[in-house]
């Protein structure tokens, strides 16, 4: 056999193996990915990192969230729902002013889940805290228990609901971390808007994944949790606070 022919056969075999292996590898890849039907896994812990030194004086995140989730008001600020809000801080001594977005902190040990009598408030294995709209009886005990004032009670009939985001009068709701988007492999609406039109202050990702930006930054940069004294191990972390 001439060397050329041998070489040709070698390349050919390699190409054939590649053609066969590539889809197999792709298949393994697919098999490992979570399908929408599959339950959330504790392998992930979804979270947010918010650098408030970059948080601009805008409310792109709030607008995007409420747009995405169909949260509309009735012009009654006391009773209208807010899933995310901009909070302004001013140091009492020095007057140093800051602003930050505040929403459900997706605690590892959520007080709202502890107090819910029916288990409607629950935490997914991947750390996202949600309300089951079918078993919420509207007792508002979770609102009493939340340290962050993150929950809203639906005080009147809602209209214009999004198909991904069921809502209903007489139940409680809060930030879902855009769970419907996360399950499709996308990022929450607030993060997307902040990075597109805002101060690029928000990072979304898997706190457990060493290759994720959020994990890398939490590993190498200082960060804080709001009400860290309660030791709830929040999924939302802040920098510059």
């Amino acid at each position: 056999m001439s060397p050329d022919r041998r070489q040709f056969l070698g390349w050919g075999a390699a190409a054939a193996a590649g053609t066969v292996l590539a889809p197999v590898i792709r298949l393994i890849d697919l098999a490992q990915a979570r399908s929408p039907q599959e339950a959330a896994s504790a392998l992930q812990r979804w979270g947010l990192l918010i650098d408030i030194t970059k948080c601009a004086d805008c409310d792109e995140c709030v607008t995007a969230c409420h747009e995405e989730n169909g949260v509309t008001g009735h012009g009654r600020p006391e009773t209208d729902a807010q899933w995310i809000r901009k909070v302004s801080l001013r140091d009492k001594r020095t007057g140093y002013a800051q602003t930050l977005p505040l929403m459900c902190q997706h605690c590892e040990h959520p007080p709202c889940v502890d107090v819910c009598p029916t288990g409607a408030s629950f935490k997914r294995d991947d750390g996202i805290v949600l309300v089951d709209k079918h078993t919420c009886i509207g007792c508002r005990y979770c609102v009493m228990a939340c340290p962050y004032g993150a929950r809203s009670f639906i005080h009147e009939t809602v209209s214009g609901q999004k198909s991904d985001v069921p809502r209903g009068k007489g139940t409680v709701e809060s930030c879902t971390l855009c769970v419907h988007r996360v399950d499709r492999g996308e990022t929450p609406a607030c993060v997307e808007a902040c990075n597109r039109d805002g101060g690029k202050a928000m990072v979304f990702g898997d706190l457990n994944d060493p290759s994720a930006e959020i994990h890398r930054r939490l590993r190498s940069e200082p960060s804080t949790q709001v009400r860290a004294d309660l030791a709830l191990n929040t999924g939302v972390r802040y920098q510059g606070l």
């Binding site: 009773t79 009598p117 029916t118 409607a120 005990y141 004032g149």
Partner: protein, 398 residues
């Protein structure tokens, strides 16, 4: 002691039906208010995303706390063997059931989704004190019903002591559960305290006895049954001790907070510059609910003053729960120490709340339900002794 003779009230006078008619109207108003709130949503009330528990909860928790406390009179007879209280035990058990029914009705009708009560009965999260309370309340019904049966059925009388003891322990746990609804709220500084559980127990003794005294006086007067001074003197002293103990617990609660630097601002709010909450604390809770009843109970001997003291205890109790429940929510949650906080969601400011008519109507409807059930039960079964005159009871008082 001489055998106690019980008898149903006649309940066919014009006054009786007028009473039932008036209570019925209040119940209907409460139901109407509830329908109005459910139909429109809670925005028609004074409640908001900052004050999620309003006037209905003040009434509901008052009634639930009083329900467990009113059973005390029966417990003193069965568990602690005081014969003088024995003739009062049936009424005590009855009021425990009816007040709880009134309180729970208010609580349930204020839910965002009251029609989902069945969900609360079929889905439990046992880490939730609310879930425990569902068992504690339903268990309380069963145990008090059993207890009443041992009192009514002569063959079962011997069992009334163990039944009474069981009911007594159960009610202590029940009120511990009610107090812990607030005591376990770690994220809200005005609440998070183990002291709230025993404080709720002593509050229940006080509120429950005050209601008991008024119902007893009214029932005896309206049915022409004698009510002697011996019984009333005992109840009077007992109420005085309870009122003083509530004041003691309130003082300890605030003193503890005054020692914790983080709580200074909260104490300043409740005791000094909290507007309506400060006023209700000093004038409602302390003066009308504490000092005035003590003066009336121990400084006078008239029956009318006793009744007035009981009314004061009830008003002061409602004020106390208003300050605790609504004031505790109105005070902003501490998230960023040493920062002035503001937002579109009313962070950092004292939340506004004004009780709305439907809320008050629902709460009063619950009270009316409890009283109407009591009146009907008195007519149907012999809960009330025919006489509580001194000669009929004081032989046992020794």
């Amino acid at each position: 002691m001489a055998r106690v003779h019980y008898g149903e009230i006649e309940g066919d006078s014009r006054g009786f039906y007028a009473l039932l008619g008036a209570l019925g109207a209040l119940i209907l108003a409460g139901l109407g208010a509830s329908w109005y709130m459910e139909h429109n949503g809670h925005y028609v009330t004074g409640m908001s995303n900052r004050i999620v528990w309003g006037m209905p909860h003040v009434f509901a928790i008052f009634l639930i706390v009083a329900a467990s406390g009113v059973l005390n009179v029966a417990s003193i007879a069965s568990v602690f063997g005081r014969e003088l209280y024995k003739p009062l035990a049936r009424l005590s058990g009855l009021l425990a059931l009816t007040l709880l029914a009134g309180g729970l009705a208010v609580l349930v009708l204020d839910l965002g989704r009251p029609e989902r009560l069945i969900v609360a009965m079929t889905h439990y999260n046992f880490k939730s004190i609310f879930a425990w309370n569902i068992f504690l309340y339903t268990g309380f019904y069963a145990i008090v019903a059993l207890y009443l049966w041992t009192m009514f059925e002569r063959r079962m009388n011997d069992y009334s002591k163990p039944a009474g003891l069981f009911a007594f322990v159960w009610r202590l746990i029940l009120t511990t559960g009610t107090g812990s609804i607030f005591g376990f709220l770690v994220a809200r500084e005005p609440y998070a305290s183990a002291l709230l559980a025993p404080m709720f127990i002593i509050m229940s003794f006080s509120f429950g006895l005050a209601i008991f005294v008024l119902v007893l006086m009214a029932a005896c007067r309206w049915t022409g049954r004698p009510l002697g001074d011996v019984v009333l003197r005992r109840l009077r002293n007992l109420l005085g001790v309870f009122v003083a103990t509530v004041l003691y617990f309130v003082a300890v609660h605030h003193l503890t907070n005054l020692y914790i630097a983080r709580q200074y601002d909260i104490e300043r709010f409740f005791l000094w510059d909290g507007g309506i909450y400060t006023a209700l604390f000093w004038f409602g809770q302390v003066l009308i609910g504490g000092v005035l009843p003590l003066a009336l109970l121990f400084g006078t001997t008239s029956r009318r003053a006793f009744a007035a003291a009981a009314v004061c205890v009830i008003l002061g109790g409602l004020a106390q729960l208003y300050v605790l429940i609504i004031g505790g929510q109105a005070y902003p949650q501490l998230m960023f120490p040493e920062k002035e906080v503001s937002s579109s969601f009313f962070d950092g400011v004292v939340a506004a709340y004004a009780p709305s008519l439907p809320e008050v109507a629902l709460g009063v409807g619950g009270v009316a339900l409890a009283l109407a059930l009591t009146a009907v039960a008195l007519k149907v079964l012999p809960f009330l002794p025919r006489s509580l005159a001194d000669g009929d009871v004081d032989s046992a008082a020794a």
